[in-house]
Assembly symmetry: C2
Homo-oligomer: 430 residues x 2
């Protein structure tokens, strides 16, 4: 057997401990598959004494995380600290500057600084891999970078945040409202105490920007993702969508069209015929549509110590096999800089839900606003008085430019005919 | 730009023409992703003059396919001739003997001769890749070989034959019987004039044996796959399964247990909660269950010129990047030889359908046979007289050893209480 691949590990939270457990449990198989053993030689974390359920006394302990980059035995540093900047970024830079390989699960850091880090890695032909940064254990970065590499990708989209999908599918199964289910998800550990990154779509946007870059050969552009979350989805939206043949899912969607790079995270209505409609619980799933392969689906656990560790160690195995290339599948200098595509001309069908007072003239005002903005109504459902006396009005539009829907909603802003903010969800097209 | 990867192509059927079209259409993108262009230099097929919708006059035409292995400009030969032996195998051997890379979509050849070919390839560290041999465009070989490489795989299973899934999901959607739908599938080009390889499960068995080897690190053992097809599935089976919460799918399933390697292709009842229950049409889908990653799903088009060409060219891109390793993910000398696992002790739930004459004592005889063999009945449905006066009796058993079900059916063989062969399908467990 040849020399082991020696690894330094920064960050010993659940994922870090999972990586240690995985390498212990599957050591023989990994050595057979990788052609050589993978061996952790040094670790670093904030608290040395914390019980993590794994024995770390056999590894070098390094107090200053950044110093892992200079550990004499380590060829590769695994960064599991988290956070887009701070110690994680300092370590990533130091590692690549030292000409050592970098493996990270840090979606925020890659979304913000991936291009800079890739340029550093390419200069010295050093591996930099981040499979665990998107969709946890699901090998979707490999799927785009390699499996679908022969294709022009027309569109990439998916369920990228397990917390949101857990909440939406629980709302759907039990007919409960958002706040109620969020509280339960927090109690069960499926949602953070401060859940904003997840439920407001930021985490999914991090991942989407990474996928888009790989799919289209464009520079990562996290700042251009239009981001929306699921706080405003109510149980009635899910029930109405189901009656119309749809499930509500928080999707990240990207395509590269003549006007630029379109990237959006937003709750969508997904038709039952699309495989994403059947993805429930904390699962992640990504669809890539290629000009020769058609529709590919990758699905699995999007978070958790086991799945994330699986992706981290898959990256290490690639490195042990010297099967790695430029981080974004092509030299970063050849990634195209694309402007954010404007959405006004984008044609789609819209789901609109209005909460309105139960009085004369409301429907007329809303219908007039639609007509004046050129929005064509496909179906309309009005549900009798809710508990608070208000009425629910749901409109599904024919396909048309998004600008028109935006104009109609603008016209209705502040109207006495609305007793709350309208909800606008896009309907996923074929 | 560095030197192109130069390729010789044998076989110019729909897939061969698709590979030419793909390389033409996506040339620039492929060169960016692969780091160098991919260029076809020579082709060979049976008929030079046939119109294939692509211009082949720009390539060297070689009459004798085997001679492609010795083309002075080609580094890699793509074999798309088909057939487990004959010219395909002769070309594959000649190619590897000449130290040139081999890419093939030939599942039959890999199932029968993959190990021998892999040994040849490894001797000279030459690439040998066959992504297109399993599940068409879906990168599931890469998924197992690399994406899930950190995991002990507990079980791999999937919908591996698009023709069967097309027929079963059409029977399901339209309530029609097998012969009727098969005839339509043949007229539409979804099934061959001689459909045996597909509908009797042989094609799925080829693919399953390849997946099992990659998943478990075992020697490919196509001869040990227990093979059954879908000829005996009737519309009533699909309706009864649906009433019980299942869909009928032809699955290939493999696991490695204490007694050896289990490999079986057979129609199964798949619970609605499993993602495979929602795979309709000619789609393929593979589930791999790993000890850290959990359940991974790969899904997409399992056949057709575009998807298959996508997988062939993905292999070429890997070779252009020099990102390849041993064909079975580990040196073939380290693949374990495992006996076929006996199935008698295997515990599962069974779906049994009997067609019986409408007369006194039939139920008693069947129930007695079940009791005597130790089969515990979970539910039983008897449907009144069918068109021919016979009665349908459906039994779902509790989980128990398969041996007991086999004994009960053996005891009933030739009984006057049965008016046709009983149907036994396995129920996919969690």
């Amino acid at each position: 057997m040849t020399e082991p691949l020696r690894v330094a590990l920064a960050g010993l939270g659940t994922v870090g401990a999972g990586v240690i457990r995985l390498i212990d449990a599957n050591a023989d198989l990994i050595a057979r598959r990788a052609g050589r053993p993978i061996e952790i030689v040094a670790v670093s974390a904030r608290d040395r004494s914390k019980d993590r359920g794994v024995d770390i006394t056999r590894f070098d302990w390094i107090d200053d995380m950044t110093q892992l980059a200079h550990h004499p035995d380590a060829e590769v540093v695994v960064e599991l600290i988290g956070g887009s900047d701070g110690p994680a970024l300092a370590l990533a830079r130091a590692t690549l500057a030292a000409g050592k390989g970098l493996v990270t699960a840090n979606k925020a850091m890659i979304a913000h600084h991936g291009l800079e880090l890739a340029e550093m890695a390419e200069k010295t032909d050093t591996p930099m891999k981040f499979e665990a940064a998107v969709a946890g254990g699901v090998p979707v970065i490999k799927g785009l970078r390699e499996g679908a590499a022969a294709n022009v990708i027309d569109r990439v989209y998916g369920i990228l945040n397990g917390t949101c999908n857990f909440i939406l599918s629980k709302m759907e199964a039990e007919g409960r409202d958002f706040d109620d289910v969020l509280a339960e998800a927090q109690a069960m550990g499926y949602a953070e105490a401060d859940p904003g990154f997840d439920i407001d779509g930021v985490d999914a946007a991090h991942k989407l920007s990474i996928l888009a870059s790989l799919a289209f050969g464009t520079q990562p552009a996290f700042g251009d993702v239009a981001v929306g979350g699921i706080r405003d989805v109510v149980a009635a939206d899910i029930a109405e969508a189901a009656a119309l043949g749809y499930r509500v899912r928080l999707l990240g969607i990207a395509d590269l069209n003549g006007e630029g790079l379109f990237q959006r995270v937003h709750p969508h209505l997904v038709p039952f015929a699309n495989p994403l409609a059947h993805v429930t619980g904390a699962t992640n799933a990504v669809v890539a549509e290629g000009n020769f392969v058609g529709r590919l689906l990758f699905q699995g656990a999007g978070a958790g110590d086991g799945p994330t560790a699986s992706a981290v160690v898959a990256d290490l195995i690639d490195i042990a096999r010297t099967e790695f290339g430029p981080p974004y599948a092509m030299p970063s200098a050849s990634l195209a800089a694309e402007p954010a595509a404007p959405t006004g001309d984008r044609r789609s069908r819209a789901y609109l839900r209005f909460t309105v007072p139960d009085k004369v003239g409301v429907l007329a005002e809303i219908a007039a606003a639609m007509r004046d903005a050129g929005v064509s109504i496909e179906s309309l459902i009005q549900r009798g008085a809710m508990a608070d006396g208000s009425v629910l009005l749901v409109i599904v539009t024919h396909e048309g430019p998004e600008r028109c829907v935006a104009q109609a909603l603008e016209k209705l802003r502040g109207s006495q005919s609305l007793s709350g903010e309208p909800m606008w969800m896009h309907i996923l097209g074929e």
